[in-house]
Symmetry: C2
Subunit: 323 residues, 2 copies
Amino acid sequence: MATIKDVAKLAHVSVATVSRVINKKGYVNETTKELVYEAIKELQYVPNELARSLFKKQSRIIGIIVPHLTSYYFAELLEVIEDITVKHNYRMMVCNSQDNKERETKYLQVFQQYNIDGVIMISNTTRIQDYKSLNIPIIAIDHKLTEDVPSVTSNNTMGGRLAAQKLVDCGCKKIIHFRGPSVLLPVQDRTIGFKSVLEKLKIYNFSFDLDFKNPSQEDIQNVVNSNLDCDGIFCDSDIIALNVIQSLKSAGKRVPEDVQVIGFDNIELSRIISPKLTTISQSTAKIGQYAVDTLVKLMNKEPIEKFHVQIDVTLIDRETTKC
Amino acid sequence: MATIKDVAKLAHVSVATVSRVINKKGYVNETTKELVYEAIKELQYVPNELARSLFKKQSRIIGIIVPHLTSYYFAELLEVIEDITVKHNYRMMVCNSQDNKERETKYLQVFQQYNIDGVIMISNTTRIQDYKSLNIPIIAIDHKLTEDVPSVTSNNTMGGRLAAQKLVDCGCKKIIHFRGPSVLLPVQDRTIGFKSVLEKLKIYNFSFDLDFKNPSQEDIQNVVNSNLDCDGIFCDSDIIALNVIQSLKSAGKRVPEDVQVIGFDNIELSRIISPKLTTISQSTAKIGQYAVDTLVKLMNKEPIEKFHVQIDVTLIDRETTKC
DNA sequence: TTGTAAGCGTTATCAC
DNA sequence: GTGATAACGCTTACAA
């Protein structure tokens, strides 16, 4: 591994000059510049980021905290984030919190040890103080932590509204909302949007809480069985929706003839299964892009316009709804 | 951020002593040790890994190259790998190659710049030489790159065999294999296992290549339509299987009554959809564990027993097969 | 048992 | 324009 010294020696200049060349900073004569470039090429020199980071106290690494990797929504988000991150010439250190506070705390220490430049939080932590004490820029996805920590989320209220409106438009009279854990902000917002439409129209509805990672098939079946007159179901994830459709089948109900179903996330599979799932699509592309771009601004100490941004969602009309 | 100097000052000792204490290396008096620990606690000191890494020329970071993040198999693998990685006190830098050589090459440079200690390759690269020239330990998953690069894979031949045997046992007479790209080793092995069983029994069969990431629904439909007498289908992924089942429905075929289907991967959804999918399960847990453990051994310059390891797969018997 | 000091590969501040 | 050199925070001979 060639170092800056090797390059300096080969080019017959000082390390300072080489440094100026590679950083394009300060004056340096065109011809010596050429010399340096040649030496760099010859030695296949690449500057050592660790040394750089040590001096500059920043590492061009950003930390990402996610609750898990195997849910399609998070995976897609991560994919977008990674892509934009490398475009900004940063790298990504991934922390899978597994929704576990201790793992998160441990990782926060790691972040410190590596002089991480910023963090993207997609986690459900409550210990926001721990993050703030790190004193590095943070952006939250899907969680409005506090007023002063920037965040970006889907417009979940809109999602709830769109779903409710669609079911109403297609003639539903009794609607169930199989939602995620109601402690989560996105879930709360979806519920608000959902109820806002239905209550105005005095349409009977209720919400039932499920775990996102492992929605209880049993609970779903029970709720379905004891509400056989229900004709519309809004689910907070496509996975939940698939479980629900399964339960409806077991209960002898046809989709969408007897019961109409709307999911959330627009996962790849929602258009492969049959009947194809009507669902609400979140723009992971926009969320991820905004998150990274904003974080980069924060890391550069540039001002940001808005602290809390919401990204529109769209209803994807497919076969589990009638109209 | 407290440094080792601050600790030294507070504990009235030299930095060397502090270093000895935190690294548990060399002699240090019990009572001074206590003093140091107190100072560390008081200042909430954590050693800076960048400085450490710079000196030791190793960073406790391992690089992971994956083709993409949104396929369930890779996500699961990544989840396991992350888990074991942190247990070994390493961190993970993720490179999503997007099956793109240039991205991969760019990341290799990044790996160099950060003195990455080892890499786990789940990618389809052909430029193994680029990796070797990095001169750091590598382990490949799902790809036997060359004889001297350790690898771990599922026993894909076994997978092909199990699937073929199952279909035969359940009475199939004409079997199609919707496989992945036949340039991939796992795909080749599955084909070998699959054919070994069928050819011995002289059962008609053929293989059709598809893309894993975006299997062409159209191609599948065409093949299905022009082989209406086929009664058994083995798919190289559950996603392909779902597509196939969809196409069979369009063609008026019932699963499993008319055509029996077996998938691969045992993704979460395979037991949610209806009929529940019979499939071959790969043990991502074992693969990931072996990969990381072996890489750690290599990084510690410990010997490893076997260079190429295969992990057994299992047939998960569900509803898309008749017996 | 402890401290001094060199060095890891950079960048940035000075002189020249 | 360019070159010494201190500094970033740490580890490890080597002395004491």
